[in-house]
């Protein structure tokens, strides 16, 4: 009689062994996992699609326990505002704000100080504790830098929000200037694995993005860097991205899910399977256990009714309200979801 295990049992046993090892590493020894473990977890993406498989459930459960252990219970809420929309000279394939593509987003001038103030005040009233101002530019010239500094001052004057900026590639001097102006965090996503990036952008390269992230770290600002899942990358490339991010030791990792935009090269890309998207959230948590893992763009479209699952599967931050050029849910709907999940919100008073 054969002593070999049936194939399905062997696979389930391998998955459990891997998750047990990862749990021991993260919760037992309180140390980050290895690259081999990361790629092993990434390989579970195919299994995760199968609703009969327990792999995703187990991975989400572990990711949630890791999040609680490494980061605590609270979820952070952030609002974002496009203060300079459209007309970007870069050709990032996912972006409707690129001037290279024929999209429906019409370029707009810089917002005024008053417009920024009003948006920030409303964001705080709706429960956000962080406010990220985003500019669709390659990097700030003198005019953009003056706008940024004025906007930062306006938000500081009128609210208690922590200010973050996303304004493209930075020099070391520019990073220092922003840090000295009181910008708490600078966002510059790596967007994808280094190996996948040439398929996404030709007007700058991945190393330039990495360099900006390093300038941010060197300036003393916190680094916010993440990526977009569902652009056609492989599961292994998601692990590659997560490992690259982990090496940067970011404070915050936004996880976007591609919303295929009309007129962009990725307009025909199929929307990511929600179970694979959740696998990606759990993967990022397990590779970058200390970071605030923030649900970012595409959450509503890709996850739909499964949004809450990710908040119990590794995510501990959200963008609330609308995005840069697209619509999100009302802040009240998201606050209700958090209340229903009994997830405490950072520095929230009187809204729940």
């Amino acid at each position: 009689m054969s002593t070999a295990r049936p194939h399905a049992d062997h696979q389930a046993s391998d998955v459990q062994d891997l998750l047990d090892d990862v749990e021991q590493q993260l919760l037992g020894r309180h140390e980050p996992i290895t690259a081999d473990q990361a790629y092993g977890l990434a390989a579970l993406a195919d299994v995760a699609r199968d609703p009969e498989s327990q792999a995703l459930t187990r991975m989400l459960d572990l990711a949630h326990r890791v999040r609680l252990d490494w980061c605590g219970e609270e979820v952070s809420l952030e609002s974002i505002l496009s203060t300079k929309t459209g007309g970007c000279p870069e050709d990032c394939a996912f972006c409707s704000q690129s001037s290279t593509f024929d999209t429906d987003v019409k370029p707009q001038p810089f917002l005024t100080r008053e417009q920024v103030m009003q948006a920030a005040t409303s964001a705080q009233a709706n429960g956000a504790t962080e406010f990220c101002m985003v500019l669709a530019i390659k990097g700030p010239d003198d005019k953009a830098m003056a706008h940024i500094l004025d906007s930062v001052e306006a938000v500081h004057d009128g609210t208690d929000l922590e200010v973050a900026i996303s304004a493209g590639l930075l020099t070391a001097d520019q990073a220092t200037t922003l840090a000295e102006a009181g910008v708490v965090r600078y966002n510059h996503n790596l967007e994808s694995a280094r190996s996948f990036f040439p398929r996404i952008c030709t007007t700058h390269d991945w190393q330039e993005r990495l360099d900006t992230c390093q300038h941010v770290r060197d300036s003393g600002m916190e680094l916010c860097s993440g990526g977009i899942l569902g652009m056609g990358e492989s599961a292994a490339q998601r692990a590659e991205l997560a490992l690259s991010l982990a090496a940067l030791e970011p404070t915050e990792v936004p996880v976007n899910f591609l919303n295929p935009r009309p007129g962009t090269p990725l307009q025909q890309q199929l929307v990511l399977d929600p179970r694979v998207a959740l696998h990606g959230v759990a993967l990022f948590r397990l590779v970058i256990p200390w970071a605030m893992l923030r649900y970012a763009g595409g959450r509503e479209m890709v996850l739909g009714d499964l949004q809450g699952t990710g908040l119990l599967g590794g995510a501990n931050g959200m963008i609330i309200g609308n995005y840069l050029t697209t619509l999100g849910r009302t802040p009240q709907a998201d606050l209700q979801m958090l209340s229903d999940l009994k997830v405490p919100v950072k520095a929230l008073t009187g809204l729940l």
């Binding site: 974002i80 956000a128 849910r329």
Partner: protein, 69 residues
């Protein structure tokens, strides 16, 4: 002040009788980007809790507290 007749789909800019409910579903995560009076592309600014738009051709402005469901 006269009222404006809405003849165009705010989501795709086409005559409104041509797109019916298809655009509402297809563009459910987008603000209106076309003027419903004249069909031209709007200047649109998305804020965290509302959207403001303006048509430079027919001068119609709108502010909506919209968000996807």
């Amino acid at each position: 002040m006269g009222t404006h007749t809405e003849r165009f789909c705010g989501r795709c800019g086409q005559p409104s009788q041509d797109c019916a409910d298809r655009c509402a579903q297809q563009h459910r995560f987008d603000p209106d980007r076309f003027c419903t009076v004249c069909g031209h592309r709007l200047d649109v600014q998305v804020y965290p809790d509302h959207v403001e738009s303006a048509c430079k051709v027919c001068r119609v402005r709108a502010a909506r507290g919209t968000a996807a469901p």
